[in-house]
Assembly symmetry: C2
Protein backbone atom coordinates (compact mmCIF):
# COMPACT_ATOMS: atom_id res chain seq x y z
CA UNK A 1 0.00 0.00 0.00
CA UNK A 2 1.22 3.47 -0.87
CA UNK A 3 1.97 5.95 1.92
CA UNK A 4 -0.21 9.06 2.14
CA UNK A 5 -0.58 12.37 3.98
CA UNK A 6 -3.98 13.88 4.69
CA UNK A 7 -4.62 17.62 4.28
CA UNK A 8 -7.21 19.72 6.10
CA UNK A 9 -8.15 23.26 5.02
CA UNK A 10 -9.98 25.28 7.68
CA UNK A 11 -12.32 27.87 6.21
CA UNK A 12 -15.10 29.96 7.69
CA UNK A 13 -17.86 27.95 5.99
CA UNK A 14 -16.28 24.58 5.18
CA UNK A 15 -13.47 22.37 6.36
CA UNK A 16 -11.98 20.63 3.32
CA UNK A 17 -10.06 17.37 3.20
CA UNK A 18 -7.59 16.05 0.66
CA UNK A 19 -4.91 13.44 0.19
CA UNK A 20 -1.40 13.37 -1.24
CA UNK A 21 0.75 10.33 -1.93
CA UNK A 22 4.05 9.83 -3.72
CA UNK A 23 2.29 10.33 -7.05
CA UNK A 24 1.58 13.84 -5.66
CA UNK A 25 -2.19 13.69 -5.61
CA UNK A 26 -4.82 11.10 -4.78
CA UNK A 27 -8.57 11.29 -4.55
CA UNK A 28 -11.08 14.08 -4.63
CA UNK A 29 -11.28 16.89 -2.08
CA UNK A 30 -14.45 16.82 0.03
CA UNK A 31 -15.94 19.24 2.59
CA UNK A 32 -17.66 19.18 5.95
CA UNK A 33 -19.45 22.28 7.26
CA UNK A 34 -17.52 24.43 9.74
CA UNK A 35 -19.61 24.54 12.96
CA UNK A 36 -21.16 27.99 13.58
CA UNK A 37 -19.48 30.01 16.36
CA UNK A 38 -17.32 27.04 17.20
CA UNK A 39 -15.32 26.28 20.30
CA UNK A 40 -11.84 25.03 19.40
CA UNK A 41 -12.84 21.46 20.36
CA UNK A 42 -15.72 21.58 17.85
CA UNK A 43 -13.32 22.46 15.06
CA UNK A 44 -10.91 19.68 16.06
CA UNK A 45 -13.84 17.22 16.22
CA UNK A 46 -14.89 18.06 12.64
CA UNK A 47 -11.29 17.63 11.52
CA UNK A 48 -11.09 14.22 13.22
CA UNK A 49 -14.40 13.18 11.62
CA UNK A 50 -13.12 14.16 8.19
CA UNK A 51 -9.89 12.23 8.69
CA UNK A 52 -11.85 9.11 9.69
CA UNK A 53 -14.07 9.56 6.62
CA UNK A 54 -11.07 9.86 4.30
CA UNK A 55 -9.55 6.72 5.86
CA UNK A 56 -12.82 4.82 5.33
CA UNK A 57 -13.43 6.18 1.81
CA UNK A 58 -9.97 5.14 0.64
CA UNK A 59 -9.74 1.98 2.80
CA UNK A 60 -6.46 3.29 4.20
CA UNK A 61 -4.44 1.32 6.73
CA UNK A 62 -3.43 3.56 9.64
CA UNK A 63 0.24 2.61 9.23
CA UNK A 64 0.17 4.01 5.68
CA UNK A 65 -0.77 7.50 6.91
CA UNK A 66 2.45 9.41 7.55
CA UNK A 67 0.86 12.58 8.88
CA UNK A 68 -1.83 15.22 8.69
CA UNK A 69 -1.36 18.78 7.44
CA UNK A 70 -3.65 21.58 8.58
CA UNK A 71 -4.03 24.84 6.67
CA UNK A 72 -5.67 27.82 8.39
CA UNK A 73 -6.04 31.56 7.86
CA UNK A 74 -3.21 33.55 9.45
CA UNK A 75 -1.58 34.95 11.39
CA UNK A 76 -0.19 31.77 12.87
CA UNK A 77 3.10 30.21 13.90
CA UNK A 78 4.19 27.29 11.75
CA UNK A 79 7.11 26.58 14.08
CA UNK A 80 4.96 26.38 17.20
CA UNK A 81 1.84 25.04 15.46
CA UNK A 82 -0.31 27.77 16.98
CA UNK A 83 -3.11 29.92 15.57
CA UNK A 84 -2.38 33.44 16.77
CA UNK A 85 -5.78 34.85 15.88
CA UNK A 86 -8.51 33.83 13.49
CA UNK A 87 -10.89 36.33 11.90
CA UNK A 88 -14.48 35.36 12.86
CA UNK A 89 -13.32 32.74 15.37
CA UNK A 90 -12.33 34.62 18.49
CA UNK A 91 -12.18 31.44 20.58
CA UNK A 92 -9.25 30.18 18.52
CA UNK A 93 -6.82 32.88 19.63
CA UNK A 94 -3.40 31.43 20.56
CA UNK A 95 -4.78 27.93 20.06
CA UNK A 96 -2.27 25.06 19.56
CA UNK A 97 -4.25 23.61 16.66
CA UNK A 98 -1.43 21.43 15.30
CA UNK A 99 -0.94 19.43 18.49
CA UNK A 100 -4.66 19.21 19.31
CA UNK A 101 -5.38 17.79 15.85
CA UNK A 102 -2.42 15.42 16.12
CA UNK A 103 -3.73 14.09 19.46
CA UNK A 104 -7.27 13.76 18.13
CA UNK A 105 -6.34 11.82 14.99
CA UNK A 106 -3.32 9.92 16.28
CA UNK A 107 -0.91 11.07 13.56
CA UNK A 108 1.88 13.65 13.50
CA UNK A 109 0.65 16.99 12.19
CA UNK A 110 1.85 20.24 10.61
CA UNK A 111 0.22 23.69 10.55
CA UNK A 112 0.58 26.09 7.64
CA UNK A 113 -0.98 29.36 6.54
CA UNK A 114 -3.77 28.59 4.04
CA UNK A 115 -2.39 30.90 1.33
CA UNK A 116 1.01 29.23 1.62
CA UNK A 117 -0.65 25.80 1.55
CA UNK A 118 -2.54 26.73 -1.65
CA UNK A 119 0.73 27.93 -3.21
CA UNK A 120 2.37 24.67 -2.19
CA UNK A 121 -0.43 22.70 -3.88
CA UNK A 122 0.06 24.59 -7.14
CA UNK A 123 3.80 23.93 -6.86
CA UNK A 124 3.26 20.22 -6.17
CA UNK A 125 0.57 19.31 -8.67
CA UNK A 126 -0.93 22.46 -10.21
CA UNK A 127 0.22 25.38 -12.34
CA UNK A 128 3.68 25.29 -10.75
CA UNK A 129 4.30 21.59 -11.19
CA UNK A 130 7.84 20.84 -12.29
CA UNK A 131 9.24 24.15 -11.06
CA UNK A 132 11.83 24.53 -8.31
CA UNK A 133 11.00 28.10 -7.30
CA UNK A 134 7.46 29.43 -7.62
CA UNK A 135 5.70 32.53 -6.36
CA UNK A 136 1.91 32.71 -6.12
CA UNK A 137 -0.18 35.90 -6.05
CA UNK A 138 -3.67 35.24 -4.69
CA UNK A 139 -5.91 38.02 -5.98
CA UNK A 140 -9.10 37.96 -3.95
CA UNK A 141 -10.58 40.34 -1.42
CA UNK A 142 -6.97 41.14 -0.59
CA UNK A 143 -3.71 40.11 -2.21
CA UNK A 144 -2.06 37.14 -0.55
CA UNK A 145 0.16 34.43 -1.81
CA UNK A 146 3.08 32.23 -1.08
CA UNK A 147 6.72 31.86 -2.00
CA UNK A 148 8.12 28.37 -2.62
CA UNK A 149 11.90 28.16 -2.87
CA UNK A 150 13.54 24.83 -3.63
CA UNK A 151 10.36 23.02 -2.60
CA UNK A 152 9.94 24.80 0.72
CA UNK A 153 7.59 27.55 1.84
CA UNK A 154 9.44 30.79 2.69
CA UNK A 155 8.39 32.00 6.15
CA UNK A 156 11.13 34.42 7.14
CA UNK A 157 13.15 34.73 10.33
CA UNK A 158 10.11 35.68 12.41
CA UNK A 159 7.46 33.94 10.30
CA UNK A 160 6.24 37.22 8.84
CA UNK A 161 7.60 36.80 5.30
CA UNK A 162 5.79 35.96 2.08
CA UNK A 163 3.44 38.95 2.41
CA UNK A 164 3.35 39.66 -1.31
CA UNK A 165 0.29 41.89 -1.00
CA UNK A 166 2.19 44.35 1.16
CA UNK A 167 5.22 45.11 -0.97
CA UNK A 168 5.10 48.82 -1.80
CA UNK A 169 4.46 49.43 -5.49
CA UNK A 170 3.65 53.14 -5.24
CA UNK A 171 5.48 55.22 -2.60
CA UNK A 172 3.02 57.55 -0.88
CA UNK A 173 0.21 55.77 -2.71
CA UNK A 174 -3.21 54.52 -1.60
CA UNK A 175 -3.37 54.00 2.17
CA UNK A 176 -3.64 50.37 3.30
CA UNK A 177 -5.25 49.22 6.57
CA UNK A 178 -1.88 47.59 7.39
CA UNK A 179 -0.51 51.09 8.00
CA UNK A 180 1.53 51.38 4.82
CA UNK A 181 0.90 53.41 1.71
CA UNK A 182 0.93 52.04 -1.82
CA UNK A 183 0.77 48.31 -1.01
CA UNK A 184 0.22 45.99 -3.98
CA UNK A 185 -2.98 44.87 -2.26
CA UNK A 186 -4.44 48.36 -2.79
CA UNK A 187 -3.97 48.04 -6.56
CA UNK A 188 -4.40 44.34 -7.30
CA UNK A 189 -7.28 43.04 -5.17
CA UNK A 190 -10.90 42.74 -6.30
CA UNK A 191 -12.19 44.69 -3.30
CA UNK A 192 -9.73 47.54 -3.63
CA UNK A 193 -10.20 47.81 -7.38
CA UNK A 194 -13.94 48.23 -6.73
CA UNK A 195 -13.38 50.72 -3.89
CA UNK A 196 -11.00 52.77 -5.98
CA UNK A 197 -13.40 52.72 -8.94
CA UNK A 198 -16.29 53.90 -6.74
CA UNK A 199 -14.24 56.75 -5.33
CA UNK A 200 -13.12 57.92 -8.75
CA UNK A 201 -16.66 57.71 -10.14
CA UNK A 202 -17.99 59.82 -7.26
CA UNK A 203 -15.22 62.37 -7.72
CA UNK A 204 -14.96 62.48 -11.51
CA UNK A 205 -18.37 61.26 -12.74
CA UNK A 206 -16.79 59.77 -15.89
CA UNK A 207 -18.88 58.94 -18.96
CA UNK A 208 -19.00 55.22 -18.25
CA UNK A 209 -21.45 52.40 -17.75
CA UNK A 210 -19.91 52.09 -14.28
CA UNK A 211 -21.21 55.56 -13.32
CA UNK A 212 -24.76 54.38 -14.10
CA UNK A 213 -24.32 51.07 -12.27
CA UNK A 214 -22.93 52.74 -9.16
CA UNK A 215 -25.84 55.22 -9.20
CA UNK A 216 -28.40 52.40 -9.47
CA UNK A 217 -26.87 49.83 -7.14
CA UNK A 218 -24.93 52.00 -4.71
CA UNK A 219 -21.94 49.73 -5.21
CA UNK A 220 -19.73 48.20 -7.83
CA UNK A 221 -17.55 45.09 -7.97
CA UNK A 222 -14.48 43.87 -9.86
CA UNK A 223 -16.56 41.55 -12.02
CA UNK A 224 -18.66 44.50 -13.25
CA UNK A 225 -15.53 46.49 -14.03
CA UNK A 226 -14.12 43.55 -15.97
CA UNK A 227 -17.37 43.08 -17.92
CA UNK A 228 -17.64 46.79 -18.77
CA UNK A 229 -14.02 46.82 -19.94
CA UNK A 230 -14.66 43.79 -22.17
CA UNK A 231 -17.54 45.70 -23.75
CA UNK A 232 -15.24 48.60 -24.56
CA UNK A 233 -16.01 50.99 -21.69
CA UNK A 234 -12.93 53.24 -21.72
CA UNK A 235 -13.00 54.16 -18.03
CA UNK A 236 -13.36 50.50 -16.98
CA UNK A 237 -10.47 49.59 -19.29
CA UNK A 238 -8.30 52.27 -17.77
CA UNK A 239 -8.94 50.87 -14.29
CA UNK A 240 -8.22 47.30 -15.44
CA UNK A 241 -5.02 48.31 -17.24
CA UNK A 242 -3.75 50.22 -14.23
CA UNK A 243 -4.36 47.19 -12.02
CA UNK A 244 -2.47 44.99 -14.48
CA UNK A 245 0.40 47.49 -14.58
CA UNK A 246 0.84 47.44 -10.79
CA UNK A 247 0.64 43.65 -10.70
CA UNK A 248 3.28 43.58 -13.44
CA UNK A 249 5.51 45.95 -11.45
CA UNK A 250 5.14 43.58 -8.49
CA UNK A 251 6.10 40.67 -10.75
CA UNK A 252 9.21 42.49 -11.98
CA UNK A 253 10.41 43.11 -8.41
CA UNK A 254 9.67 39.47 -7.51
CA UNK A 255 11.74 38.36 -10.52
CA UNK A 256 14.67 40.59 -9.59
CA UNK A 257 14.74 39.21 -6.05
CA UNK A 258 13.75 35.56 -6.44
CA UNK A 259 14.14 34.82 -10.16
CA UNK A 260 11.47 32.11 -9.84
CA UNK A 261 10.66 29.60 -12.57
CA UNK A 262 7.04 30.73 -12.51
CA UNK A 263 4.62 33.25 -11.05
CA UNK A 264 1.12 31.81 -10.58
CA UNK A 265 -2.03 33.90 -10.14
CA UNK A 266 -4.88 32.51 -8.06
CA UNK A 267 -8.01 33.83 -6.35
CA UNK A 268 -11.33 35.26 -7.49
CA UNK A 269 -9.81 37.75 -9.95
CA UNK A 270 -8.44 34.87 -12.03
CA UNK A 271 -12.00 34.02 -13.10
CA UNK A 272 -11.25 36.69 -15.71
CA UNK A 273 -8.74 34.22 -17.20
CA UNK A 274 -6.82 35.56 -20.18
CA UNK A 275 -8.47 38.96 -19.71
CA UNK A 276 -6.39 39.16 -16.53
CA UNK A 277 -3.26 37.36 -17.65
CA UNK A 278 -2.86 39.05 -21.03
CA UNK A 279 -2.59 42.64 -19.72
CA UNK A 280 -0.35 41.54 -16.82
CA UNK A 281 1.96 39.80 -19.31
CA UNK A 282 1.92 42.81 -21.62
CA UNK A 283 2.78 45.27 -18.84
CA UNK A 284 5.34 42.82 -17.46
CA UNK A 285 7.17 42.76 -20.79
CA UNK A 286 7.08 46.55 -20.86
CA UNK A 287 8.33 47.03 -17.27
CA UNK A 288 10.82 44.16 -17.21
CA UNK A 289 14.53 44.72 -17.79
CA UNK A 290 16.12 44.15 -21.20
CA UNK A 291 19.64 43.54 -19.86
CA UNK A 292 19.13 39.79 -19.55
CA UNK A 293 16.35 37.50 -20.69
CA UNK A 294 13.85 36.86 -17.90
CA UNK A 295 12.92 33.19 -17.91
CA UNK A 296 10.10 33.40 -15.37
CA UNK A 297 6.73 32.45 -16.88
CA UNK A 298 3.31 33.71 -15.73
CA UNK A 299 0.33 31.38 -15.38
CA UNK A 300 -3.14 31.04 -13.85
CA UNK A 301 -3.58 28.59 -10.97
CA UNK A 302 -5.02 25.17 -11.81
CA UNK A 303 -6.47 23.75 -8.60
CA UNK A 304 -9.11 26.32 -7.64
CA UNK A 305 -10.71 25.88 -4.22
CA UNK A 306 -9.11 22.43 -3.75
CA UNK A 307 -5.63 23.94 -3.45
CA UNK A 308 -5.81 24.58 0.32
CA UNK A 309 -6.52 20.96 1.31
CA UNK A 310 -4.12 19.45 -1.23
CA UNK A 311 -1.39 21.89 -0.23
CA UNK A 312 -1.88 21.22 3.48
CA UNK A 313 -1.38 17.52 2.70
CA UNK A 314 1.64 18.41 0.57
CA UNK A 315 3.22 20.37 3.42
CA UNK A 316 2.72 17.34 5.70
CA UNK A 317 4.24 15.14 2.99
CA UNK A 318 7.22 17.48 2.84
CA UNK A 319 7.62 17.10 6.62
CA UNK A 320 6.91 13.40 7.08
CA UNK A 321 6.86 11.78 3.67
CA UNK A 322 10.25 12.47 2.18
CA UNK A 323 12.40 10.22 4.36
CA UNK A 324 10.16 7.18 4.21
CA UNK A 325 9.60 7.57 0.49
CA UNK A 326 13.33 7.83 -0.18
CA UNK A 327 14.10 4.86 2.09
CA UNK A 328 11.38 2.68 0.65
Amino acid sequence: MTKVCIGIDLGGTFVKFGLVDETRRAGKVFSLPTPPNPQPEDVVAVMADGVEKIIADHSLAREDILGVGVGAPGPLSVKRGILLQLPNMQTMRNYPLRDRVSEAVGFPATLENDANAAAYAEYLCGAGQGTRDMVMFTLGTGVGGGIILDGKVLHGANEMGGEIGHIIVQPGGRPCPCGQKGCLEQYGSAMNLAKYASRRIREEKPVSRLTEILKQNGEIDAKTIHAAGRDGDAFARELWEEMAMYLAVGCVSICRLFDPDRIVFAGGMTRAGEDLLEPIRRHFQREDWTMLETKTTLAIAALGADAGAIGAAGVAWNAFGTKSSSSS
Copy 2:
Protein backbone atom coordinates in the same frame (compact mmCIF):
# COMPACT_ATOMS: atom_id res chain seq x y z
CA MET B 1 45.59 21.79 13.08
CA THR B 2 42.34 23.56 12.30
CA LYS B 3 40.77 23.19 8.84
CA VAL B 4 40.54 26.32 6.66
CA CYS B 5 39.13 27.61 3.39
CA ILE B 6 40.90 30.28 1.36
CA GLY B 7 38.99 33.13 -0.29
CA ILE B 8 39.99 35.09 -3.38
CA ASP B 9 38.31 38.34 -4.44
CA LEU B 10 38.96 39.34 -8.04
CA GLY B 11 38.83 43.09 -8.56
CA GLY B 12 39.92 45.36 -11.41
CA THR B 13 42.94 46.70 -9.50
CA PHE B 14 43.67 44.10 -6.82
CA VAL B 15 43.14 40.43 -6.15
CA LYS B 16 42.50 39.98 -2.42
CA PHE B 17 43.05 36.89 -0.32
CA GLY B 18 41.50 35.84 2.97
CA LEU B 19 41.01 32.85 5.20
CA VAL B 20 38.11 31.34 7.12
CA ASP B 21 38.24 28.51 9.66
CA GLU B 22 35.70 27.05 12.08
CA THR B 23 36.09 30.14 14.27
CA ARG B 24 34.72 31.98 11.20
CA ARG B 25 37.67 34.22 10.48
CA ALA B 26 41.42 33.88 10.54
CA GLY B 27 44.20 36.24 9.57
CA LYS B 28 44.36 39.50 7.70
CA VAL B 29 43.26 40.01 4.14
CA PHE B 30 46.12 40.88 1.76
CA SER B 31 46.22 41.99 -1.88
CA LEU B 32 48.23 41.33 -5.02
CA PRO B 33 47.92 43.64 -8.02
CA THR B 34 45.62 42.49 -10.83
CA PRO B 35 47.75 42.25 -14.01
CA PRO B 36 46.89 44.97 -16.56
CA ASN B 37 44.90 43.74 -19.61
CA PRO B 38 45.30 40.18 -18.42
CA GLN B 39 44.85 36.93 -20.24
CA PRO B 40 42.79 34.48 -18.15
CA GLU B 41 45.95 32.48 -17.37
CA ASP B 42 47.60 35.59 -15.89
CA VAL B 43 44.67 36.04 -13.50
CA VAL B 44 44.76 32.37 -12.48
CA ALA B 45 48.54 32.62 -11.94
CA VAL B 46 48.12 35.58 -9.56
CA MET B 47 45.44 33.65 -7.70
CA ALA B 48 47.74 30.61 -7.38
CA ASP B 49 50.58 32.86 -6.16
CA GLY B 50 48.34 34.36 -3.51
CA VAL B 51 47.19 30.94 -2.33
CA GLU B 52 50.81 29.80 -2.01
CA LYS B 53 51.61 32.98 -0.08
CA ILE B 54 48.70 32.46 2.32
CA ILE B 55 49.82 28.83 2.87
CA ALA B 56 53.35 30.00 3.64
CA ASP B 57 52.30 32.97 5.81
CA HIS B 58 50.09 30.77 8.00
CA SER B 59 52.32 27.65 7.81
CA LEU B 60 49.30 25.69 6.61
CA ALA B 61 49.47 21.97 5.85
CA ARG B 62 47.88 21.21 2.48
CA GLU B 63 45.57 18.58 4.02
CA ASP B 64 44.09 21.26 6.27
CA ILE B 65 42.87 23.31 3.31
CA LEU B 66 39.37 22.15 2.45
CA GLY B 67 38.85 24.38 -0.55
CA VAL B 68 39.21 27.74 -2.25
CA GLY B 69 36.40 30.21 -2.90
CA VAL B 70 36.61 32.75 -5.70
CA GLY B 71 34.50 35.90 -5.80
CA ALA B 72 34.23 37.85 -9.05
CA PRO B 73 32.10 40.61 -10.57
CA GLY B 74 29.03 39.24 -12.35
CA PRO B 75 27.28 38.10 -14.37
CA LEU B 76 28.49 34.58 -13.76
CA SER B 77 27.16 31.09 -13.20
CA VAL B 78 27.73 29.72 -9.71
CA LYS B 79 26.42 26.31 -10.75
CA ARG B 80 28.77 25.98 -13.71
CA GLY B 81 31.63 27.97 -12.16
CA ILE B 82 31.87 30.19 -15.24
CA LEU B 83 32.41 33.93 -15.67
CA LEU B 84 29.89 35.00 -18.31
CA GLN B 85 31.41 38.40 -18.92
CA LEU B 86 33.65 40.68 -16.96
CA PRO B 87 33.61 44.46 -17.34
CA ASN B 88 37.12 45.61 -18.36
CA MET B 89 38.37 42.06 -18.91
CA GLN B 90 37.06 41.02 -22.32
CA THR B 91 39.31 37.96 -22.44
CA MET B 92 37.47 36.40 -19.50
CA ARG B 93 34.17 35.97 -21.33
CA ASN B 94 32.65 32.50 -20.70
CA TYR B 95 35.78 31.52 -18.79
CA PRO B 96 35.55 28.48 -16.44
CA LEU B 97 37.39 30.28 -13.65
CA ARG B 98 36.34 27.90 -10.87
CA ASP B 99 37.83 24.80 -12.46
CA ARG B 100 40.94 26.57 -13.75
CA VAL B 101 41.71 27.89 -10.26
CA SER B 102 40.99 24.49 -8.74
CA GLU B 103 43.46 22.84 -11.14
CA ALA B 104 46.10 25.50 -10.54
CA VAL B 105 45.99 25.34 -6.72
CA GLY B 106 45.12 21.66 -6.28
CA PHE B 107 42.05 22.22 -4.09
CA PRO B 108 38.32 22.06 -4.81
CA ALA B 109 36.91 25.51 -5.61
CA THR B 110 33.69 27.51 -5.67
CA LEU B 111 32.75 30.61 -7.66
CA GLU B 112 30.41 33.30 -6.34
CA ASN B 113 29.35 36.79 -7.37
CA ASP B 114 31.46 39.31 -5.43
CA ALA B 115 28.46 41.21 -4.02
CA ASN B 116 26.96 37.95 -2.76
CA ALA B 117 30.34 36.96 -1.31
CA ALA B 118 30.56 40.29 0.54
CA ALA B 119 27.04 39.76 1.90
CA TYR B 120 28.01 36.27 3.00
CA ALA B 121 31.04 37.68 4.86
CA GLU B 122 28.86 40.15 6.76
CA TYR B 123 26.50 37.29 7.59
CA LEU B 124 29.34 35.05 8.74
CA CYS B 125 31.45 37.43 10.79
CA GLY B 126 30.33 41.02 10.22
CA ALA B 127 27.23 43.13 10.78
CA GLY B 128 24.97 40.14 10.17
CA GLN B 129 26.74 37.74 12.51
CA GLY B 130 24.30 35.63 14.51
CA THR B 131 21.43 36.13 12.08
CA ARG B 132 19.76 33.38 10.07
CA ASP B 133 18.35 35.52 7.27
CA MET B 134 20.15 38.68 6.18
CA VAL B 135 19.81 41.01 3.22
CA MET B 136 22.60 43.37 2.19
CA PHE B 137 22.21 46.55 0.12
CA THR B 138 25.53 47.64 -1.39
CA LEU B 139 25.24 51.36 -2.13
CA GLY B 140 28.10 52.29 -4.42
CA THR B 141 28.21 53.39 -8.04
CA GLY B 142 25.16 51.18 -8.44
CA VAL B 143 23.02 49.37 -5.91
CA GLY B 144 23.94 45.72 -5.49
CA GLY B 145 23.71 43.33 -2.65
CA GLY B 146 22.99 39.83 -1.59
CA ILE B 147 20.29 37.79 0.09
CA ILE B 148 21.28 35.14 2.64
CA LEU B 149 18.48 32.78 3.68
CA ASP B 150 19.18 30.15 6.32
CA GLY B 151 22.90 30.52 5.75
CA LYS B 152 22.76 30.18 1.97
CA VAL B 153 23.06 32.74 -0.83
CA LEU B 154 19.81 33.11 -2.80
CA HIS B 155 20.53 32.75 -6.53
CA GLY B 156 17.14 32.00 -8.04
CA ALA B 157 16.04 29.32 -10.48
CA ASN B 158 18.15 30.75 -13.31
CA GLU B 159 20.84 32.42 -11.18
CA MET B 160 19.43 35.88 -11.83
CA GLY B 161 17.96 36.55 -8.37
CA GLY B 162 19.22 38.80 -5.59
CA GLU B 163 19.21 41.89 -7.83
CA ILE B 164 18.13 44.24 -5.07
CA GLY B 165 19.11 47.34 -7.03
CA HIS B 166 16.56 46.54 -9.72
CA ILE B 167 13.39 46.18 -7.73
CA ILE B 168 11.00 48.89 -8.92
CA VAL B 169 10.40 51.50 -6.23
CA GLN B 170 8.75 54.12 -8.46
CA PRO B 171 6.58 52.90 -11.37
CA GLY B 172 7.32 54.97 -14.46
CA GLY B 173 10.20 56.58 -12.55
CA ARG B 174 13.77 57.41 -13.53
CA PRO B 175 14.95 55.31 -16.49
CA CYS B 176 17.64 52.72 -15.69
CA PRO B 177 20.22 51.38 -18.17
CA CYS B 178 18.84 47.91 -17.38
CA GLY B 179 15.74 48.85 -19.39
CA GLN B 180 13.39 49.33 -16.45
CA LYS B 181 12.01 52.52 -14.98
CA GLY B 182 12.13 53.44 -11.31
CA CYS B 183 14.75 50.89 -10.16
CA LEU B 184 16.03 51.33 -6.61
CA GLU B 185 19.49 51.80 -8.12
CA GLN B 186 18.31 55.06 -9.70
CA TYR B 187 17.43 56.47 -6.27
CA GLY B 188 19.91 54.88 -3.88
CA SER B 189 23.30 54.82 -5.58
CA ALA B 190 26.01 57.47 -5.20
CA MET B 191 26.36 57.94 -8.95
CA ASN B 192 22.65 58.28 -9.62
CA LEU B 193 22.11 60.63 -6.68
CA ALA B 194 24.80 62.87 -8.18
CA LYS B 195 23.38 62.59 -11.70
CA TYR B 196 19.88 63.40 -10.49
CA ALA B 197 21.16 66.34 -8.46
CA SER B 198 23.03 67.74 -11.46
CA ARG B 199 19.97 67.47 -13.66
CA ARG B 200 17.74 69.19 -11.15
CA ILE B 201 20.27 71.96 -10.56
CA ARG B 202 20.52 72.62 -14.30
CA GLU B 203 16.75 72.65 -14.65
CA GLU B 204 15.74 74.46 -11.46
CA LYS B 205 18.84 76.47 -10.49
CA PRO B 206 17.96 76.18 -6.78
CA VAL B 207 19.47 78.51 -4.18
CA SER B 208 22.01 76.00 -2.94
CA ARG B 209 25.71 75.58 -2.43
CA LEU B 210 25.42 72.71 -4.91
CA THR B 211 24.43 75.10 -7.70
CA GLU B 212 27.70 77.00 -7.15
CA ILE B 213 29.78 73.83 -6.97
CA LEU B 214 28.29 72.42 -10.16
CA LYS B 215 28.94 75.73 -11.93
CA GLN B 216 32.58 75.78 -10.78
CA ASN B 217 33.48 72.10 -11.17
CA GLY B 218 31.15 71.01 -13.92
CA GLU B 219 30.21 68.01 -11.79
CA ILE B 220 28.98 67.04 -8.35
CA ASP B 221 29.25 63.87 -6.26
CA ALA B 222 27.32 62.17 -3.47
CA LYS B 223 29.92 63.17 -0.89
CA THR B 224 29.44 66.85 -1.74
CA ILE B 225 25.66 66.48 -1.46
CA HIS B 226 26.06 64.81 1.92
CA ALA B 227 28.45 67.54 3.16
CA ALA B 228 26.15 70.36 1.96
CA GLY B 229 23.17 68.71 3.66
CA ARG B 230 25.12 68.39 6.92
CA ASP B 231 25.80 72.12 6.73
CA GLY B 232 22.09 72.83 6.41
CA ASP B 233 21.75 73.32 2.67
CA ALA B 234 18.00 72.76 2.15
CA PHE B 235 18.20 71.50 -1.41
CA ALA B 236 20.96 69.00 -0.54
CA ARG B 237 18.90 67.81 2.42
CA GLU B 238 15.86 67.31 0.23
CA LEU B 239 17.90 65.12 -2.13
CA TRP B 240 19.37 63.12 0.75
CA GLU B 241 15.98 62.62 2.39
CA GLU B 242 14.39 61.47 -0.84
CA MET B 243 17.18 58.93 -1.33
CA ALA B 244 16.64 57.66 2.22
CA MET B 245 12.89 57.42 1.61
CA TYR B 246 13.33 55.22 -1.47
CA LEU B 247 15.87 53.02 0.31
CA ALA B 248 13.37 52.70 3.17
CA VAL B 249 10.60 51.73 0.75
CA GLY B 250 12.93 49.05 -0.63
CA CYS B 251 13.58 47.85 2.93
CA VAL B 252 9.84 47.61 3.65
CA SER B 253 9.25 45.46 0.56
CA ILE B 254 12.25 43.29 1.48
CA CYS B 255 10.79 42.84 4.99
CA ARG B 256 7.35 41.88 3.67
CA LEU B 257 8.84 39.24 1.38
CA PHE B 258 11.80 37.87 3.35
CA ASP B 259 11.23 39.04 6.93
CA PRO B 260 15.01 38.92 7.49
CA ASP B 261 16.66 39.29 10.89
CA ARG B 262 18.72 42.18 9.55
CA ILE B 263 19.26 44.47 6.59
CA VAL B 264 22.90 45.55 6.24
CA PHE B 265 24.07 48.54 4.20
CA ALA B 266 27.49 48.45 2.59
CA GLY B 267 29.37 50.34 -0.12
CA GLY B 268 30.77 53.84 -0.53
CA MET B 269 27.59 55.62 0.60
CA THR B 270 27.96 54.08 4.06
CA ARG B 271 30.97 56.31 4.69
CA ALA B 272 28.23 58.79 5.71
CA GLY B 273 27.58 56.47 8.68
CA GLU B 274 24.72 57.58 10.91
CA ASP B 275 23.94 60.40 8.47
CA LEU B 276 22.85 57.64 6.10
CA LEU B 277 21.40 55.15 8.57
CA GLU B 278 19.37 57.61 10.66
CA PRO B 279 17.19 58.94 7.81
CA ILE B 280 16.73 55.43 6.34
CA ARG B 281 15.59 54.19 9.77
CA ARG B 282 13.29 57.19 10.21
CA HIS B 283 11.66 56.74 6.80
CA PHE B 284 11.51 52.98 7.36
CA GLN B 285 9.52 53.47 10.54
CA ARG B 286 7.19 55.82 8.68
CA GLU B 287 6.67 53.55 5.66
CA ASP B 288 6.57 50.23 7.55
CA TRP B 289 3.30 48.57 8.48
CA THR B 290 1.79 48.94 11.94
CA MET B 291 -0.24 45.71 11.81
CA LEU B 292 2.53 43.62 13.33
CA GLU B 293 5.84 44.55 14.89
CA THR B 294 8.68 44.32 12.37
CA LYS B 295 11.67 42.71 14.03
CA THR B 296 14.17 43.32 11.24
CA THR B 297 17.03 45.59 12.32
CA LEU B 298 19.06 47.91 10.06
CA ALA B 299 22.83 48.18 10.35
CA ILE B 300 25.96 49.38 8.56
CA ALA B 301 28.39 46.73 7.26
CA ALA B 302 31.44 45.99 9.40
CA LEU B 303 34.06 44.43 7.14
CA GLY B 304 34.64 47.12 4.53
CA ALA B 305 36.81 46.15 1.55
CA ASP B 306 37.83 42.85 3.20
CA ALA B 307 34.31 41.44 2.86
CA GLY B 308 34.77 40.04 -0.65
CA ALA B 309 37.76 37.81 0.17
CA ILE B 310 36.39 36.69 3.52
CA GLY B 311 32.99 35.95 2.01
CA ALA B 312 34.51 33.99 -0.88
CA ALA B 313 36.29 31.85 1.73
CA GLY B 314 33.02 31.57 3.66
CA VAL B 315 31.15 30.34 0.59
CA ALA B 316 33.85 27.68 0.10
CA TRP B 317 33.56 26.78 3.78
CA ASN B 318 29.81 26.41 3.32
CA ALA B 319 30.47 24.03 0.41
CA PHE B 320 33.41 22.02 1.72
CA GLY B 321 33.81 22.77 5.40
CA THR B 322 30.52 21.85 7.01
CA LYS B 323 30.72 18.08 6.75
CA SER B 324 34.27 17.72 7.95
CA SER B 325 33.74 20.17 10.79
CA SER B 326 30.65 18.33 11.99
CA SER B 327 32.36 14.93 11.71
CA SER B 328 35.52 16.08 13.50
